[in-house]
């Protein structure tokens, strides 16, 4: 499967396909326990990350808590 051109946090990225959201997090060195994942505007819960495949053109948002008032 060819590389997948996706958007992560607003930036274009290429990941080797096939890949799941879990693979994406691993590739970025992120711990799924400290990140919330939104895939094409839908929140994906942690247990589902490994069974959610990425497709070309997907938009992924990875967020966490930062300081705020």
């Amino acid at each position: 499967m060819p590389d997948l051109a996706i958007t992560v946090n607003g930036e274009p990225r290429t990941v080797p396909g096939p890949a799941t959201l879990d693979d994406l997090l691993h590739g970025l060195g992120l711990d799924a326990r400290t990140v919330v994942v939104e895939h094409n505007r839908r929140i994906v819960r942690r247990p589902k990350l490994g069974e959610t495949p990425l497709a070309p053109g997907d938009a992924v948002e990875l967020v966490h808590f930062v300081g705020g008032g």
Binding site: L30, V36, I43, F65, V66, G67, G68, G69
Partner: protein
């Protein structure tokens, strides 16, 4: 320090209840803009706050710094209250709230829908729409509001767990600009009223609590103080003092003097 109040401090022991949760401290603090995480942690500790606000933002994928606030705030020690700061529409705020809830700590959210970049004053239409949507979705909503009674009443009607009128604009440090509005909101609402934003120093916090409100949320007053830890210490006591003074009931204001010493018994 020994208390000035009677040892039991009965009035102060009444916990603050919001959305079915009970809190001892009436001071809530933010986690933004501190010069260092160490200083933030020490200030929060000195404040005695249990409710601590956090914001939802994109992870920095360059990982030049991994700055999840959770590395510094033990989630079993504080009640993390996520905000929707920076959101300018109801849809955006709802999206942020849902992402925050997914982090898995609680279903409380400090709802902000901002209407203007210069003043950061709330967009009332967006705020009400988002509040209704989030309440429908099972959130406990604490709504950052302007100090308008009608807005506050509508937020209560929408099912908000607390209404959070501003003392003055976010980050302004201008203190309590309209005590009458805040008193009126407190008098008319059944849900807790927590003043959010604008408190600049301890006297502001004390005067605000003297209006009878249930609590105060602040961030910049601590983070931008020259010494945040000492300011947090002062704020904790100011909130307690203001609360106690409110419960004690102040003397009437008079336009004339009334002597404190007996008029009787003066020498001829």
């Amino acid at each position: 320090m020994t208390g000035i109040l009677p040892a039991s401090e009965p009035a102060l022991e009444v916990p603050l209840e919001i959305g079915g949760r009970s809190f001892r401290s009436r001071l809530m603090v933010g986690t933004g803009k501190y010069r260092s995480n160490g200083e933030m942690v020490r200030a929060i500790e000195a404040s005695g706050a249990e409710i601590v606000t956090v914001a939802v933002r994109r992870v920095d994928l360059d990982r030049s710094k991994d700055e999840s606030i959770l590395h510094h705030l033990p989630a079993d020690h504080y009640f993390l209250l996520a905000n929707t700061a920076g959101c300018y529409s109801a849809d955006e705020a709802v999206r942020y709230a849902r992402l925050a809830r997914e982090a898995g700590f609680n279903d409380f959210v400090k709802l902000e829908v901002i209407g203007d970049r210069e003043t950061l004053l709330p967009d009332v239409d967006g705020l009400l729409a988002a509040a209704r949507e989030l309440v429908r979705d099972g959130f406990r909503v604490l709504a950052y509001s302007n100090d308008d009674l009608i807005t506050a009443l509508r937020l209560e009607d929408a099912g908000c767990a607390a209404v959070m009128p501003l003392a003055s604009p976010i980050g302004s440090g201008l203190g309590l600009l309209n005590p009458y509005s805040i008193r009126t909101i407190k008098r008319r609402l059944s849900v807790p009223v927590v003043v959010d934003a604008g408190v600049g120093t301890a006297s502001d916090a004390c005067v605000t609590m003297e209006q009878g409100v249930d609590g105060i949320l602040m961030n910049t007053a601590l983070a931008e103080a020259r010494d945040p830890v000492t300011m947090a210490w002062a704020m904790r006591r100011a909130v307690e003092a203001g609360r106690a003074a409110f419960l004690a009931g102040r003397m009437p204001r008079r336009e004339v003097a009334v002597p404190s010493s007996p008029a009787k018994g003066m020498l001829e």
